[in-house]
Amino acid sequence: MKLSYRVLALVGLAFSIFIAATALDLRLMTRLGPGPGFFPFSLAVLFGLLSVGLYFKAGAIAKLATGDGDPEPRDRPAEIAVLLLVTTLTVSAVFFEYLGFCLSMLGFCIAALLIMGERRWYVIAPTALIGSFGVYFLFVHYLGVSLPEGLISI
């Protein structure tokens, strides 16, 4: 945990430097006081200071987080499942408007259920169909919510 907090602190510091540099390109002050860059710059400085604080207090914070016990052991298959689910979500989001709600969500439901360990087709098929076409029909036609049609329209 201590190492994780140190890495977080360094990432935070780099991020704060980047934000401060970007904020400097905006005006810090105008005739009537703070300009568009003033608050982001101030916050970047604060974030940087907190990151430095975190770096030096990493050990104490790690002790607080884990107590006296050992940190949880890593579960590789579960971590891979999380990674795959995030990838599936991202792909679905990227093609959401092109494919439309029904097709993208049909694909997402099938992929997500498989990633979560479901293998029974009689569970996957109805869940995916209800989650895509069923939800679309309910929300678009009954609740008046606007969802993308994409390649097919129902």
Binding site: G33, L50, K57, K63, L64, V82, A112, V123, G131
Partner: protein, 498 residues
Amino acid sequence: MDTFQFLVSGLALALQPEYLIFAIIGCVIGTLVGVLPGVGPVAGTAILIPVTFSMDPAAAIIMLSAIYYGTMYGGTITSVLVNVPGEAASAITCLDGYAMAKKGRAGPALAVAALGSFTGGTIATLCLVMLALPLTKFALGFGPPEFFALLMIGLSLVAALAGRSLILGLMSATFGLMISFVGIDPVVGAPRFTFGVTSLLAGISIVPVAMGLFGVSEILSSLLQSKGPTKAAPVGSLMPSRDDMKRSWAPVLRGSFVGTLLGMIPGMNAFVPTAMSYVLEKKVSKTPDKFGTGMIEGVAGPETANNAYANAALIPLFTLGVPGSPTIAVLMGAFMMNGLTPGPLLFIEHADIAWTIIASLFVGNIILVLLNVPLIPIWVSLLKIPQRILHVSILLLCIMGVYTVNNSAFDILVMIFFGVLGLIMKKLQIPAAPMILTVVLGPLLEQALRQSLEISQGTPAICLSRPLAAGRLSVGGGIVAVSLMGAVPKRRGTDSEV
């Protein structure tokens, strides 16, 4: 019109079939959200915001508020029957509620919790009714400096939400503020941190941030923890005995007081009033050693405090426009997305809507009792739904909900980003509550300060020269000081707060 007349006219509107139906739908969804472990009130409220866009603003807020306080009751069911709190505020109920369930007395525990929730919610709503007009009149005298100082109080409460480490809490809050500054600058009109992405010009909406941090991250996190199937204890007879009622009325009154009082303080975590009520009941009990073995007082007090807190937390939002908790911050976002600005002007510009919503809180509390107690077996049966299907359904709702806010797939990507960020924060025990609070408060705070400085021709002393603003800034400073002082002694000990 006086308070009573406003309330009566609000009640007349709240009892119209349209509003009544949305209150019932909200209570049902809220209970469902509370029953299902992993979906908290923040995600539950945020997911449904887009559905409210095609609705009447009053109906929309009535439904979302009902989801909020419905969640508080729903969490009790799983705490008592499964020993798994549906949301953090119900965690303390596990101690005696589950012990009662193991003795075959789950029914009386749930019934007393329902009656206590009703009493607590009603008393807190009465406080809202009584305080609404005086606080509104007081707040109407605010200019930008006073409003800025008031928001600073809200911001200072980040220290209270910081959790175990102040540094991590402050980092979360600062990051939230930085997110809130993405988009067009409100005064000069210059784009900030948009990096050429057109979708970022309008800023980052609270909905994808809340859904990512509290919805998606929860599901990703649950994938990392393998949980076995949930088994519920039998409910048995719902009727509490005469002895149960006799032992419960005083804890219910004390819980109402504790919950209402703490709910009015912005920044108070929902767990605090329930824990405080439990401790209070233990202190006043003649048999404190029996707590944890199935004492009805240990259910009645905290569950009452829980719902009293939920209703009382609406007081600062309605009267001052200050969100005191992450769920209330999401609710505030829902107000604004539906064209309503919470705060004193709400009672001037939309008095009918404000009083209809307040009156609906009374109606909603009655609906919760009537709806929940007889339907307990149905709520319990929901726990049998396989987690995979539940998780996929929640993700699907999140995607749909986020997309419909701006009809933008970019928002889905933002939600996924915050989902992953939320998971990392969870693993590193960084609290997400300060971030969501500052995402809402950031733009308001910046606008108020810059308007104040325009009035004073750039002199920051304006915030200190006006008594109301100076007073509030002192209160904010006091809150930070108390939070820091609370951290110092612990830092010296073994269980330090950094």
